[in-house]
C-alpha cells in the first residue's frame, strides 16, 4: 500500500458515499480488510476505496453481500464442479424456443414475459413485414 493515499474512516465514507456503519459491516463480513493500522493510527487506502467501489458495482448487478463474500474467498486447488442453474423454457412457436434463467425478481419476470408475449405475437402474425437474413424484404 506504499505510495497510496491514506484516509480516515470518515474520509473514506465521504469519498465512497457509503456510511461508516456500512463500511464496518463490510469489514465484519469479510468483504473489506480492516484499517491498515490498529488503534489511533488506523487508516484506509485507495485499495479500500477501490474495493468498496467494486462491491457497489457487484450490488448494482444484483449480487447480495453474502454472494460477494463467497466470490472474494480464494479459489481452492483443483477443478471445481460448476454451480447448477435452473432455466425456464418458453416455446413461442414451433420453431422458436427461448430460455430464461429461473429465480429472477418479479419486475424482471414481468419485463421478460411482456417481451416474450410481444415476440410471440409478432411470430404468429404472418402479415408482418420481415427481413430475411440476407437483407431481402419479404411479406
Amino acid at each position: 500500500m506504499d505510495g497510496e493515499s491514506q484516509f480516515s474512516l470518515s474520509e473514506l465514507e465521504a469519498r465512497s458515499g457509503v456510511p461508516a456503519r456500512t463500511i464496518r459491516f463490510y469489514i465484519a463480513r469479510g468483504l473489506l480488510d480492516g484499517p491498515a493500522r490498529a488503534g489511533r493510527g488506523a487508516y484506509y487506502t485507495t485499495a479500500h476505496l477501490r474495493r468498496i467501489e467494486w462491491i457497489r458495482e457487484q450490488q448494482s448487478q444484483g449480487a447480495m453481500l453474502a454472494e460477494i463474500a463467497v466470490k472474494l474467498r480464494p479459489a481452492p486447488e483443483g477443478q471445481r464442479l460448476a454451480q447448477p442453474e435452473a432455466w425456464l423454457q418458453y416455446s413461442l412457436s414451433e420453431d422458436v424456443r427461448v430460455m430464461v434463467r429461473d429465480g429472477a425478481s418479479p419486475w424482471r419476470i414481468r419485463q421478460i414475459r411482456a417481451a416474450l408475449s410481444e415476440l410471440a405475437g409478432r411470430l404468429s402474425n404472418t402479415d408482418v413485414e420481415t427481413r430475411s437474413p440476407d437483407g431481402d424484404r419479404n411479406k
Binding site: S8, L9, S10, P19, A20, R21, T22, R24, F25, I27, A28, G34, P35, A38, G39, R40, G41, A42, Q58, Q59, Q61, G62, A63, M64, L65, A66, E67, V70, K71, R73, A75, R80, Q83, R101, G103, A104, S105, P106, W107, R108, I109, R110
Partner: protein
C-alpha cells in the same frame, strides 16, 4: 419497570446440535410499561452482551407499532448510566460515529422508512453486558367494547419489487433493499428456527377508568394479577419466550360508553383523548352499497390464511342485498378481476364470484398499490374497498400516497403474527376507512364478516367538535363497531361533538398529571406517525414535511425520521481508532410464515461455489412450502359462514317454494341467534338484518313474528339450530313456547 426473575437472569441460549453457548449479540428483550385504553407507554429492555474478543457493534432492527414514536433511552452497564439526547438525525449520526472513533460506548436509535428502527450499540467491550431501555409511545386498535395492543417481538420479511433475497445457509435468509430508496437501513437475518435466539417476555400494567370485563392474549399465554389501584398486571406465563410473533393483548371494557382521559402535561397544557363508541351515534342507516373486495393472494398468504380469506369473502357476499353491487380483485405480482365492472349481488354473480375465488392460488409478490388503483377505478367515487392482506410490503409511504390519491375508502383486515399493523392502520385512516388485525392463531373469516358488517353507510358523518383545540383532525365519519377517537388540548369542562343529525356533550374530567403527560405524548406520537407516512423521497412538499417533523419532535420530545436519539459514554480505557465488529441481531420468522414461502425460490448460497452470482428472487411462494400453522377445525362458525354465503339477493334463504324459503330463513335466524348474532350484535348482524327484512314482508304466521322479535331482542331460542336446519314449524313453535313458559 423491568422484573428480572432469577430464572431469566442466567439465561444463555445454546445450539441444539452441540449444546454449546451461542454467541448472540443480544440476549434478551423484555417489555414493561403502562397500557391505557387510548395507548401505551412502553419500556423495551434490550440486553446486549459481547462474546467477541474485540469491541462489538450490535444492530437490532424492529418495526414500530401503530401510531408509535421513540421517546428516549437510558443505557446502563457496570459503573455507568447515560441518557439519550434528541438531535437532528444527521447530527445524531455524526455524534455516534465520533463516539465510535473515540472508542466510546455509543448508542443510536434511528428511524428509517416504513417505521423500521435500527438500534445500534457500538463499542461494547469483550464480555461486557449493557442494557438499553428504550421508551416507546404506541397506539392501540380501538373497538367499541375493547381495545387491542400489538407489540412487535419480531420483524416479518416483506415484499418489494427491487428487494433481493438469499438463503445464505439452511434456514437463514437475508433481504437487501435498494439504497436509493431505503438508505442504509439494516435488516436482520431471518431464521427459520427461532428457538435459539434471544429471550423475550413482558410485564405490563393495564389500567382503565371504566374497569375491565376481561383480558387475554391470542399470541402468548399470560398471567394476570389484579392490583390494589384497580389496575391489572399482565405477565408472560412462561419464564421466557422466543421472538417469532408479535405480542397481542386484548382488553374488554366493562361498559362501552363515551369516555375522556385528560390531564395537564409537562408543558403545562391540558391534553385529552376521548373515545366515543359508535353505538352513541345511533343505528347504521340503510343504503345501497358499492363494495370492491381486494384479496391479497401473494405467496405470503398461502395456506389457511388464503383459504379463510376466501370463505370470508363468500360470507360477505351473502350480506349484500339486491340493491348492492360488488367487485372482486385479487393481486399478487399482477391484478386479476372477477369482472371489469361492478356486478349486482345476484345469486348468479355471487356463484360466479365463488368460482373465481376457488381458482385463485397464492403466489408472487404483493403489488398492493396497482391493485388499489384498479379496484378504486372499478368501484368509482363513494365506493368502499375491503382489503384482506398481510400487508407485508416495504415502501409503504409510496403505497399510501397512491392510495390517498384514488379517493375511495379503504377498509383493511390485516392477517399475520408479525404483520404491518402500523401500515394498514394508516392505510385505512388516511382514506377514511377502518382496520382490524388478526393473528395467525385466530380465525380470519369471522373478523372479516364483522368488519364487513360495518361498511357502507357510516353511523355518523361530518363530525365537528367544539370546546377544545382538536389536533389531529377528527375522522370525517364513524363506522359501526369502531369508536370515534378525538384528541386535543385545552378542553375545560365539556366537549360538544356534533354530526349530521345529532350531537352529544362529553364531560372531560382530570386524571392527573401522569395521565396528562402520557396523553400528550400519545398525541405527539400519532401526529408524527401521520406526517412520517407522507414522507417520500420525491416532491417539493418533502422539505416542508421534514421541517414540520423536526418541530413536532422538539415540541413533544419524541424521535422521528428527522430527529434521532443518541448517547455516547466516554470511559477510562476507551481505545480510539479500534473498529468494532458489526453484528446484526437475527430474528425468527413469524410463527405462521413458512420460511420456504419466502426463501425457497430465492437463490441459495453455495459456500463452495466460486462464481455464485445473480439476481435473487423477490418474495415468491414456493409450491412445496409447508402450509401455515393455523387453527383449521370446522365448527359452528364454519357452518354459520356457509349459511351466510347461501343468502339470496332478496335476503331470504334459498328454497323451491315461498313456504320453504320462509321456513329456511326462520331456521337460519335461529342458528345465528344460537351463536349470539342478533340484529344489533355479533359479526353476522348484517346477515341477520337481511334475513329479518325478508321475513317482515312475509310475517303471516305468529311463529315468524315471534322469531323476528327474538332477532331484535337477541333472545336465544332453545335448540341446536346450527346443526339442525331441517326442523318443522311445529318444532320451532315448541321451542318458542319454552321461552314463553
Amino acid at each position: 419497570m423491568a422484573t428480572e426473575t432469577s430464572s431469566v437472569r442466567g439465561f444463555a441460549p445454546v445450539a441444539v446440535e452441540t449444546g454449546e453457548e451461542l454467541e448472540l449479540a443480544m440476549q434478551r428483550l423484555w417489555l414493561t410499561g403502562h397500557v391505557l385504553p387510548v395507548g401505551a407507554r412502553l419500556m423495551v429492555h434490550h440486553v446486549f452482551q459481547s462474546k467477541e474478543k474485540k469491541p462489538m457493534e450490535a444492530v437490532y432492527a424492529f418495526g414500530l407499532p401503530r401510531d408509535a414514536a421513540l421517546r428516549r433511552f437510558v443505557i446502563r452497564g457496570e459503573g455507568f448510566t447515560a441518557h439519550s439526547e434528541l438531535r437532528p438525525t444527521r447530527e445524531a449520526v455524526e455524534e455516534y460515529e465520533r463516539g465510535i472513533r473515540d472508542g466510546s460506548l455509543s448508542t443510536l436509535a434511528r428511524e428509517h422508512g416504513d417505521g423500521i428502527v435500527n438500534l445500534s450499540v457500538g463499542n461494547i467491550r469483550p464480555r461486557e453486558k449493557v442494557t438499553v431501555c428504550l421508551e416507546i409511545l404506541a397506539g392501540v386498535e380501538l373497538h367499541d367494547d375493547s381495545f387491542r395492543l400489538r407489540f412487535p417481538f419480531t420483524l416479518a420479511p416483506c415484499y418489494h419489487p427491487r428487494a433481493r433475497l438469499l438463503e445464505i445457509a439452511p434456514g437463514a435468509g437475508e433481504i437487501e433493499l435498494p439504497e436509493d430508496e431505503f438508505g442504509d437501513v439494516m435488516l436482520p437475518q431471518f431464521r427459520q428456527d427461532s428457538s435459539n435466539l434471544h429471550a423475550v417476555g413482558f410485564d405490563l400494567r393495564v389500567t382503565s377508568p371504566g374497569g375491565f370485563d376481561g383480558i387475554g392474549s391470542p399470541s402468548h399465554r399470560v398471567r394476570i394479577q389484579v392490583q390494589d389501584a384497580g389496575g391489572v398486571r399482565v405477565l408472560l406465563a412462561a419464564e421466557r419466550d422466543i421472538p417469532n410473533r408479535d405480542l397481542v393483548l386484548d382488553v374488554q371494557h366493562c361498559n362501552a360508553r363515551p369516555e375522556a382521559l385528560a390531564g395537564t402535561g409537562l408543558d403545562g397544557k391540558r391534553h385529552f383523548i376521548a373515545i366515543v363508541p359508535s353505538t352513541s351515534f345511533g343505528e347504521k342507516p340503510k343504503g345501497a352499497r358499492r363494495v370492491v373486495f381486494v384479496l391479497d393472494r401473494s405467496g405470503s398468504m398461502q395456506g389457511l390464511p388464503m383459504e379463510q380469506a376466501r370463505k370470508a369473502i363468500e360470507a360477505c357476499l351473502g350480506a349484500l342485498s339486491a340493491e348492492d353491487s360488488f367487485g372482486l380483485v385479487a393481486f399478487g405480482d399482477q391484478t386479476e378481476h372477477f369482472q371489469t365492472r361492478l356486478s349486482p349481488a345476484t345469486r348468479e354473480n355471487r356463484d360466479a364470484a365463488r368460482a373465481f375465488l376457488a381458482s385463485l392460488q397464492a403466489r408472487g409478490g404483493t403489488e398492493l398499490a396497482p391493485a388499489v388503483e384498479e379496484a378504486a377505478g372499478l368501484g368509482g367515487t363513494g365506493s368502499d374497498l375491503f382489503i384482506l392482506t398481510d400487508g407485508q410490503v416495504y415502501g409503504t409511504e409510496q403505497i399510501l400516497a397512491r392510495a390517498r390519491a384514488v379517493g375511495v375508502r379503504l377498509h383493511c383486515l390485516g392477517i399475520g403474527s408479525a404483520s404491518q399493523d402500523r401500515f394498514l392502520a394508516l392505510l385505512a385512516r388516511q382514506t377514511g376507512g377502518v382496520s382490524r388485525f388478526v393473528t395467525a392463531t385466530e380465525r380470519v373469516d369471522m373478523p372479516a364478516v364483522d368488519l364487513f358488517a360495518s361498511l357502507g353507510k357510516p353511523v355518523a358523518e361530518s363530525i365537528r367538535v367544539t370546546g377544545a383545540h382538536i389536533q389531529p383532525d377528527p375522522p370525517p365519519c364513524v363506522f359501526a363497531g369502531t369508536p370515534l377517537a378525538i384528541s386535543g388540548e385545552g378542553a375545560d369542562g365539556e366537549l360538544r361533538i356534533q354530526w349530521d343529525g345529532g350531537s352529544l356533550d362529553l364531560p372531560v374530567g382530570d386524571c392527573g398529571r401522569r395521565i396528562g403527560e402520557m396523553v400528550r405524548l400519545l398525541r405527539g406520537a400519532r401526529m408524527i406517525t401521520d406526517l412520517e407516512s407522507r414522507q417520500i423521497n420525491t416532491g417539493r412538499e418533502q422539505s416542508r414535511i421534514a421541517e414540520r417533523l423536526k418541530e413536532l419532535s422538539k415540541e413533544y420530545g419524541l424521535a422521528s425520521r428527522e430527529m434521532s436519539l443518541v448517547a455516547v459514554v466516554a470511559r477510562a480505557g476507551d481505545q480510539p481508532g479500534e473498529v468494532p465488529k458489526t453484528s446484526v441481531v437475527p430474528v425468527g420468522m413469524a410463527a405462521d410464515t413458512p420460511f420456504a414461502g419466502y426463501f425457497a425460490a430465492a437463490r441459495r448460497l453455495d459456500a463452495d461455489a466460486t462464481a455464485c452470482m445473480g439476481v435473487s428472487a423477490a418474495l415468491f411462494a414456493h409450491p412445496d412450502a409447508p402450509a401455515a400453522r393455523l387453527v383449521s377445525e370446522s365448527n359452528e362458525e364454519d357452518l354459520l359462514l356457509e349459511l351466510a354465503a347461501r343468502i339470496e339477493a332478496d335476503g331470504g334463504m334459498p328454497g323451491r317454494k315461498e313456504e320453504d324459503r320462509v321456513l329456511a330463513t326462520v331456521l337460519a335466524i335461529l342458528a345465528f341467534l344460537q351463536e349470539s348474532h342478533s340484529l344489533k350484535t355479533g359479526a353476522f348482524r348484517s346477515h341477520v338484518r337481511r334475513l329479518v327484512e325478508f321475513l317482515e314482508a312475509r310475517a303471516d304466521r305468529d311463529v315468524v313474528r315471534r322469531v323476528i322479535e327474538c332477532a331484535r331482542s337477541g333472545r336465544i331460542v332453545p335448540g341446536d339450530w346450527v346443526c339442525t336446519q331441517n326442523a318443522t314449524w311445529e318444532e320451532i313453535e315448541e321451542a318458542l313456547n319454552e321461552i314463553r313458559s
